[in-house]
């Protein structure tokens, strides 16, 4: 379902869905005149969040439901931006376990949350009513991009 302002996608926990979601998100973001760099930030952050849902929330089980909602927002301090919500009905991961790993340690895994928190201006995980997880992220047009030094997102 899609309106002029918002994007809502219902899909399943299959890795093959990810390219389609990235395309839809790119199309949506471009309508709101995000820079190419910020569109890429949004797409990567959402892709990382969905990867975590598939891997950890649904533990690799395909065919499980995921909903992605994106809406433009206007904040008094930060100006124009977007709020992106990802909802799943998978395992409720303890919130204190959702943290990026020590980047001084060379090992695979644990990088997705770190990328999300660096690319977005705000990222908040919660346990959803009725089971599963909800991730709400916000990003703003005029927030300085912090790149590798980016930190402090909630």
């Amino acid at each position: 379902m899609r309106s002029r302002q918002s994007l809502e996608l219902h899909f399943t926990s299959d890795p093959s869905e990810l390219p389609r979601v990235r395309d839809a998100l790119t199309d949506w973001a471009q309508v709101f005149q995000w820079t190419k760099e910020r569109v890429a930030d949004i797409v990567l952050a959402v892709d990382e969040a969905l990867t975590n849902v598939i891997r950890h929330g649904y533990e690799g089980r395909p065919g499980q439901p995921i909903v992605l909602r994106c809406v433009p927002v206007q904040d008094a301090q930060r100006g124009r931006g977007a709020e992106i919500e990802i909802r799943d009905w998978g395992r409720q991961v303890p919130l204190q376990q959702i943290c990026g790993r020590d980047l001084d340690d060379l090992r695979p895994g644990g990088l997705g949350v770190h990328l999300i928190r660096n690319l977005m201006d705000c990222a908040e995980y919660s346990h959803a009513e009725g089971g599963g997880m909800r991730l709400r992220m916000r990003i703003f047009h005029d927030a300085p991009r912090r790149g590798s030094e980016r930190g402090g997102a909630t």
Binding site: P15, S16, L18, P19, R22, D23, T26, A40, L44, D47, E48, T51, I54, R55, L103, D104, L106, R107, P108, G109, L111, G112, H114, L115, N118, L119, G147, S148, R150
Partner: protein, 116 residues
């Protein structure tokens, strides 16, 4: 973007002590298992250097970089070396945000990679 642009292709050429892996397309949760399999298969040979050409990779996520980290960790055990070549800006950005650019040798050309 059409489906073909999302696909990943991997080609490998190997000589006595080095392999050159050319990757094209998008490396994500869907495609990274195939990349992982091809890279780890290389470890059956006594390679001293694996050169990974990423010039035609426009998108990589943490599952993709995690695959490269796994290869590097395994080659480190035998004093082997992984060299990444020609990262596009968005791909380089992922390595920078995750600070993996400090761990990998990253160069601009295949020739440089043979010497790095």
């Amino acid at each position: 973007m059409n489906e073909a642009q999302h696909q990943m292709e991997v080609s490998v050429s190997v000589d006595r002590t080095a392999a050159v892996v050319r990757v094209r397309g998008e490396v994500d949760l869907r495609s990274s298992p195939e990349l992982r399999e091809k890279l780890l298969n290389l470890l059956e040979r006594p390679l001293k250097r694996v050169i990974i050409d990423l010039a035609r990779v426009g998108y990589i996520d943490s599952s993709g970089v995690g695959t490269l980290v796994e290869l590097k960790r395994r080659l480190d055990r035998t004093d082997g070396r992984v060299v990444l070549v020609a990262l596009q800006p968005r791909v380089r950005s992922v390595f920078e945000i995750t600070r993996l650019d400090h761990f990998f040798a990253i160069v601009d050309t295949i020739d440089e990679a043979h010497k790095a």
